[in-house]
Amino acid sequence: MPKLTLEDLKKLRDQKVAEMNQRDVENKQSQVIVGMGTCGIASGAKKTFDAFIDELAKENLTDVAVRQTGCMGLCHSEPTVEVVVPGMPRVIYGNVDCDTARKIVSEHLVGKRLVSDHVFDKPAADIIG
């Protein structure tokens, strides 16, 4: 791969913007928030973060926001990811490895169905207590 400069990056970005104008605006309000506290990092949250970026690009959902946050209080189930899609409940998923991340993209963000066996709703005992 040739070394990209900031100018090259801008050109690539402009190309993408031109493609994006033809797409659905609903995705703009969807968010994937990955917990990247010490617990998340130790459990592989960065690979999860990478898998989301990769899979969203493959599905052409390039305007979904992918953000990071600290520990969400579910250290026992890291990596954790919160997914916000308009018209659906806000959901925190636990134990999101790369395969699960890809599944969340295809089922939740594309198919509008929850990935039920990874849904969590309660923080660890020392967070509530």
């Binding site: 990056l9 970005r13 990247m36 990478d50 990769d54 969203l56 992918v66 990071q68 520990c71």
Partner: protein, 192 residues
């Protein structure tokens, strides 16, 4: 402990963001077998007592989770350096900021692997908040540097998945240019 140096960088740079820094300077440079890293922030800093406690794995400032009793980021890093003959220093001044500096001797059999630099820098450059992160990266004399402000100016919204993919490509290409892969003996055609 974290498996790679890059995982540790993610953790320590986030500490800097959470300390209210508006400017964080990250430097990661390798010369020969010596990998030197430093994270300098202009955040709220720590007094001597807090600085000592920050290295205790069973202490945290209680800001994020008031009932929690562990804080593992810096203790993990210090143990990584201790167990592989590296160095670690923590300097801080209340109101002025904190600098975490550490190094690894890569010839030591226990030195951690470097990890995924493009993914790590992509995550760090797009961490939400009102701050500027400056990265200075070097490998045996070759180097590049970039700031989050430059990237935001170039790409716009750094949280969009499409921009994150582009950013990853940017860092992959720059990392590749730092240390070109050696030419395999049979990479050239044998017959011309």
């Amino acid at each position: 402990m974290h498996p790679t140096v890059c995982d540790t960088l993610l953790d320590v740079v986030q500490n800097a963001f959470e300390a209210g820094a508006t400017r964080v300077d990250l430097s990661v440079a390798r010369t020969g077998n010596l990998l030197s890293c430093s994270v300098a922030d202009n955040g709220r800093g720590m007094d001597e007592a807090t600085k000592r406690r920050a290295l205790d794995p069973f202490w945290t400032d209680g800001v994020k989770h008031p009932s929690r009793k562990v804080g593992l980021g810096l203790p993990f890093l210090r143990e990584m350096t201790r167990s592989s003959g590296g160095s670690f220093s923590l300097t801080s001044e209340p109101g002025r900021g904190t600098t975490v500096a550490f190094s690894f001797d890569l010839s030591n059999v226990d030195a951690p692997s470097f990890g995924d630099a493009p993914g790590t820098f992509t995550a760090l450059m797009t961490y939400p908040g009102d701050h500027v992160l400056s990265l200075s990266r070097g490998e045996d004399g070759a180097s590049y540097s970039v700031t989050s402000a430059e990237l935001a100016e170039t790409l716009g919204d750094l949280s969009e998945a499409g921009n994150l993919a582009l950013l990853r490509e940017f860092f992959s290409s720059n990392e590749e240019a730092l240390s070109p892969a050696p030419v395999a003996p049979f990479a050239q055609p044998l017959l011309t």
